[in-house]
Subunit: 339 residues, 2 copies
């Protein structure tokens, strides 16, 4: 089953079901007005959504219409919780190496995770508006899951059973604000502005063999200004799978239905064992600009690729084995913001 | 105007209006089913709520009933955002002194703030359930505000105009998990389990002269196992007022209606200029156990007061100049949790 949220209809938009090939949609509002409403009683609501989706797939759903990704908000336009892990420890290791710091051994066994702002996500095709270019605007391509209720203290096996939907994320980051903010000790805040999610959320069963219950084994395709920038496989080098990330989040508190857990920037080691190479040089590239800058720093003593500038465009998508888009695309430009 | 949320009625409870003296209530569900629903269109909804509240105060509201604080959830049982500042820099300075570290000068001008989990708040009279005492369970008594929409980049003057309601918070903290978590660099996560809010949320106009638009000038009364523990004045030594905290939160992203901003642990300097003295010794005491432990460390070379143990009870309340409870009380015991 695939779901999306149209921007029309208030702060939480309007829930629709979307066909596998992303060409058709049908309003789900007779069952649940919004995706959060569906999550508030998922066990009862999901079978009814699934039945209507079957009709959409069969071409018999009344009121179906042509699906338009650009009319979509993020599947949850706002959420009660957005927790972002940093599961590709290779990426963290590179960050540290680039600034000459050793990474603690515990980072391979104890997940990094931060509490993100979730009250105002961007639409997948909405510009990233920012007051200043010199904040060091960057994208981060990630995979995320939306959860049903998870009890406090759930182990990974229990946690994994609460995964209801998968999504793609652009976790927008302001790199030049991060060092000072982390030095203050309280984690990210101003350095993590609103994130955006790909238009379509997908149930695990609709992902077939690519989803193994813990990781999504497909390349995350990232392009910058129309040029391929990254194609790292989200199932490779993911040190902590989603059930492990969820159990980490639930250690001291329950997680409520509709909680989003992110993977962190997808990052693969280069096949040579060295720093990852750009796509143009036969490598898998990068899911954020910060990573290529770290590699450049390691190789050349300094970063060469600039962070995003006003007018730049980033696109994040994932295709199935047959080349069809699974989640639709995040496609955002960067614009100057004025109060 | 005063509002509260009864636990009955689903994940977001049921919105009621509460009389000034906290003795009577009337359902607001004919206007807005839940407090978040009211915030989704506050400009239209608030005048209608205010009119009904006028009837409640006059004793003419149909369907009014005796108000019971123990039937309440937190005013927002779940919220789209909970950002907690650390505005009483005196408290931060003590933390640093107790571990022999100097506090950066910038802490007096650049607010500390962390993104808290907001998907599952505790009810004000609900036990704090935790798996282990040795997490170092602590309370933090704070003041908080709930906001209408705030645009990105709003200055303090604009931000201050978005304050719609005030509340009290118990920001439960797990002290023994904090050092390792902060050392990882991503801020609090497991060390900040679910918070609880006092039953009644109050509009600024109903606070009279105690609210000056930026700070709430009344003592925050904290007791532990029935003994007075703290009575620091929330309007004193608050280095960053609420408008400043809100502007900090909104620097790189908009804040959506229903966002909660916390003050951080209320903390006053001792009148002597030295470390704060316990209430029993004529001082203003403390709004969290960590602070008395820091003072003990400074005075005696080691902490003497233990963190909370299973069975302990904490109470947080604020009285007006005439001795009447403004927000009702947070009253929580600590219990062992088993999965």
């Amino acid at each position: 089953m695939k779901l999306a949220t149209l921007r029309a209809g208030g702060r939480d938009g309007t829930l629709v079901l979307v066909s596998t090939d992303l060409t058709r949609a049908v309003p789900a509002t007779g069952i649940a007005a919004t995706l959060q409403t569906a999550f508030d009683s998922w066990a009862e609501t999901a079978p009814r959504l699934q039945a209507l989706w079957g009709q959409l797939e069969a071409g018999t759903a009344a009121g179906s219409f042509a699906f338009d990704q650009t009319a979509c908000h993020s599947p949850l336009p706002r959420a009660y919780q957005w927790c972002d892990g940093s599961a590709y420890v290779n990426h963290v290791d590179l960050v540290r190496k680039a600034r000459g710091a050793a990474m603690p051994e515990s980072f391979w066994t104890d997940p990094l995770m931060y509490q993100g702002g979730s009250d105002a996500f961007l639409s997948p095709h909405e510009p990233i508006q920012m007051a200043r270019e010199d904040y060091g605007i960057d994208f981060e391509g990630e995979v995320a899951v939306i959860l049903d209720d998870v009890p406090m203290g759930a182990d990974a096996a229990t946690a994994g059973k609460a995964i209801r939907l998968l999504m793609l994320v652009n976790d927008v980051s302001l790199r030049n604000l991060i060092p000072n903010e982390l030095a203050k000790g309280f984690g990210f805040f101003q350095s993590k502005p609103s994130s955006a999610f790909a238009p379509v959320a997908v149930t695990p069963d609709a992902l077939g063999a690519a989803w193994d219950g813990g990781k999504l084994h497909l390349p995350l395709l990232v392009s910058l200004n129309g040029q391929p920038f990254g194609k790292a496989n989200a199932g490779v080098d993911m040190t902590f799978d989603f059930p492990t990330l969820i159990a980490h989040a639930a250690k001291t508190r329950p997680l409520s239905a509709g909680t989003i857990i992110g993977s962190g920037t997808v990052s693969n080691r280069d096949i040579s064992g060295g720093p990852g190479r750009p796509v143009a040089e036969g490598g898998l590239g990068y899911s954020c600009i910060a990573e290529v800058r770290m590699v450049e720093t390691l190789l050349h003593g300094g970063a060469r690729t600039p962070f995003l500038r006003f007018g730049d465009r980033v696109r994040i998508e994932m295709l199935d084995a047959a080349g069809a888009s699974l989640f639709g695309a995040i496609e955002q430009s960067v614009e100057a913001y004025t109060v």
